[in-house]
């Protein structure tokens, strides 16, 4: 057990080091930091002195070590484009992204499970067939197109909902939230649907497939034979047993939601981290790119680590397999 956890953690650290190396290489090889720091009239001697002072002549490994140490403390320097510390930029935009991701995650889960159960129970109903067909189109539609089409229908034609921004926000402690104001909630609707739709179809299809599988199992027939009500059989027995894989997949999808937020935020001009990253790619703003790279890698590595460790705890077969191979 301990060996497995240690190996898994070592692997995660290795991944983070590789990502850090890429980020560091960006800093090191894109442009000359000295020429962007000093004026035109600086002499070569001045430049060399500054280079020495900043440690740019140090061996590669010691520079990399310094970079990793500073990154671990959240110090990524100053944005080339916005002239502000990168960490402050990211932290000030993180609440917007997390709020959006959370709301769409919950939406995707609730509606995904609901539709999945419905289409599994009423397999041949017209409503089930409609939901399944629409979900196929939903999977084929790129996220950005869903967003643009929603803006067209609900913001331009019907004028029900705003098409950009976050609306008014109020501070709850240090956290600016849009959930407590009417305009903030209205602004959240379209982006949350855009971001959650793909995950919803995914969860829905998974729940449906798992439900159909479980409903065929012997213990369900047995439960019916015992005279349990449909409700107890469907929800107490069938749904409960489909939830383990569904929760795992949903957990793994959390990272994807944050990744796809890049697209949704750009479509709706949502003031989050993803939009910041896209702009940094467009303008080759290296410090922001490097920091985002490290941040998103960390999120994914942690999520995967937790899911793997939970698997190990939940599924006894994994432990038995390992014990068997050892002897």
């Amino acid at each position: 057990m301990l060996a497995y956890i240690l190996r898994r953690i070592a692997q995660s650290v290795l991944v983070m080091l590789v990502v850090a190396l890429v980020s560091f290489a960006l800093f090191r090889f894109v442009g000359d930091p000295i020429s962007s720091m000093v004026g035109q009239e600086a002499t070569i001697a001045d430049r060399d002195a500054l280079r020495e002072q900043l440690g740019l002549n140090d061996p590669f490994l010691s520079q990399f070590a310094t970079f990793v140490m500073r990154a671990a403390q959240g110090n990524f320097g100053i944005s080339y484009r916005l002239q502000e510390p990168v960490m402050e930029l990211i932290l000030s935009r993180l609440p917007a992204t997390l709020e959006l991701a959370m709301v769409s995650g919950v939406l995707a889960f609730v509606f995904g499970v609901g539709f999945g159960v419905y289409t599994a129970l009423r397999r041949n109903g017209w409503l089930s067939n409609t939901i399944m067909t629409v979900s196929l189109v939903g999977v084929s539609l790129p996220t950005f197109l869903i967003g643009v089409l929603l803006i067209w229908v609900f913001a331009v034609e019907l004028q029900w909902l705003p098409s950009f921004g976050r609306g008014n926000v109020v501070m709850v402690g240090d956290w600016p939230t849009g959930l407590l104001t009417p305009s903030g909630r209205a602004s959240l609707v379209l982006p949350a649907i855009t971001l959650g739709l793909y995950q919803m179809t995914l969860i829905m299809r998974l729940v449906r497939a798992e439900m159909l599988e479980v409903l065929r199992a012997d213990y369900i027939k047995f439960a019916r034979a015992r005279g349990l009500s449909n409700r107890a059989v469907n929800f107490g027995h069938a749904l409960k047993n489909t939830m383990v894989p569904v929760i795992t997949i949903t957990g793994l999808q959390l990272g994807s939601i944050i990744a796809f937020a890049i697209i949704t935020e750009t479509v709706f001009q949502w003031p989050g981290v993803g939009a910041l990253f896209i702009n940094s790619v467009r303008f080759v703003d290296v410090p922001v790119m490097a920091a985002y790279l490290m941040m998103i890698a960390l999120v994914f590595v942690i999520i995967n680590l937790i899911v793997d460790l939970l698997y190990y705890v939940v599924d006894p077969r994994l432990r038995v397999d390992r014990a068997a191979t050892r002897h």
């Binding site: 084929s140 790129p142 796809f260 890049i262 750009t266 790619v281």
Partner: protein, 304 residues
């Protein structure tokens, strides 16, 4: 019986003829691909020839004569008076080129590394599969975006425009090679231990020849399925990056770029600039997706 006749009688062809969805999807994909390939001959106008453009023709609604010039356009015109139908044909050309090139790149890389891992085994295998595991835990569009962003950083600013399309192809290809590598590796390991391969080794056939002539043909079925679905994914990835403004340069607009331009005119009421490129992208992605789904089921012996 000749070769064409044998193909017509094969299981795959039979399943194709009896699946209306597959026939319709194939027809739609074929029409779009042909229209894109022959765009310079089909398109009524050349949208990239400034001398043929008339700014007075700008914002002509579809099917209505323009108020000043009296010209009529099937799908209307954009702000610069470019015929939307023609820009879609040329845009689909770029989308399809990037899509096919990225899939071929991913396929060659994936098959090559997969065969290497499966045939050699040992540390090469564990290293490649570790990398694959890590990459699979990230969504591929994020990988493509990150590779594209990092690569852009390394390219000198003066060259960014002209090499953008190649950087895009490599980024999308690198984000998708894992699928091929895993399938090919698994199949190569199974085939490697079979008697015919051992027999070939005993009589001294060169390993490269065994891998290419005996093992590779046996893994092409699943690879083809992945490539078809991968094409739809690559087209969507390209459209997404171009929509975000970090894909192909504006001088070579793909369908994603056209949708981005169309979005800017949504609020002023010129809906056709957005709608028609969106429909083209949707039809393309949907038809290729459906073909991939059908091919996967048709090649799966358990579903027969």
């Amino acid at each position: 019986m000749n070769r064409l006749g044998r193909m017509w009688d094969s299981d795959i062809a039979w399943s194709f003829r009896h699946s209306p969805v597959a026939v319709v999807a194939a027809a739609m994909a074929l029409i779009i691909i042909l229209a894109a390939v022959f765009a310079p001959w089909i398109a009524p106008y050349n949208p990239f020839d400034p001398s043929s453009l008339n700014l007075m023709d700008g914002f002509t609604p579809p099917g209505e004569p323009n108020a000043f010039t009296g010209n009529t356009y099937l799908m209307g015109t954009d702000n610069q008076g470019r015929d939307i139908f023609s820009t879609i044909l040329y845009g689909a050309r770029i989308s399809l080129f990037v899509g096919f090139a990225a899939v071929i790149f991913a396929m060659v890389l994936g098959i090559g590394l997969g065969l290497l891992a499966g045939w050699r085994g040992g540390w090469v295998d564990s290293l490649l599969m570790r990398v694959a595991d890590v990459q699979l835990s990230f969504p591929s569009i994020l990988i493509a975006l990150l590779i594209f962003g990092v690569a852009r950083g390394f390219i000198p600013p003066s060259m960014r425009e002209e090499v953008a399309i190649w950087v895009l192809i490599v980024s999308i290809g690198l984000s998708d090679w894992v699928q091929y590598a895993r399938v090919v590796r698994g199949a190569a390991m199974v085939e490697k231990s079979k008697e015919y391969v051992q027999a070939a080794r005993v009589i001294g056939v060169h390993p490269a020849r065994i891998v290419l002539r005996h093992i590779l043909p046996n893994v092409m079925g699943p690879v083809l399925v992945i490539a078809t679905i991968g094409l739809a994914l690559a087209i969507i990835a390209e459209a997404t990056l171009s929509f975000l403004g970090v894909g192909v340069p504006p001088t070579q607009p793909s369908l994603g770029t056209l949708i981005r331009i169309g979005q800017q005119y949504l609020f002023s009421g010129e809906w056709w600039i957005l709608l028609f490129p969106s429909i083209a992208l949707l039809l393309l992605a949907l038809s290729v997706n459906l073909l991939g789904d059908w091919l996967r089921d048709a090649l799966n012996p358990r579903l027969r």
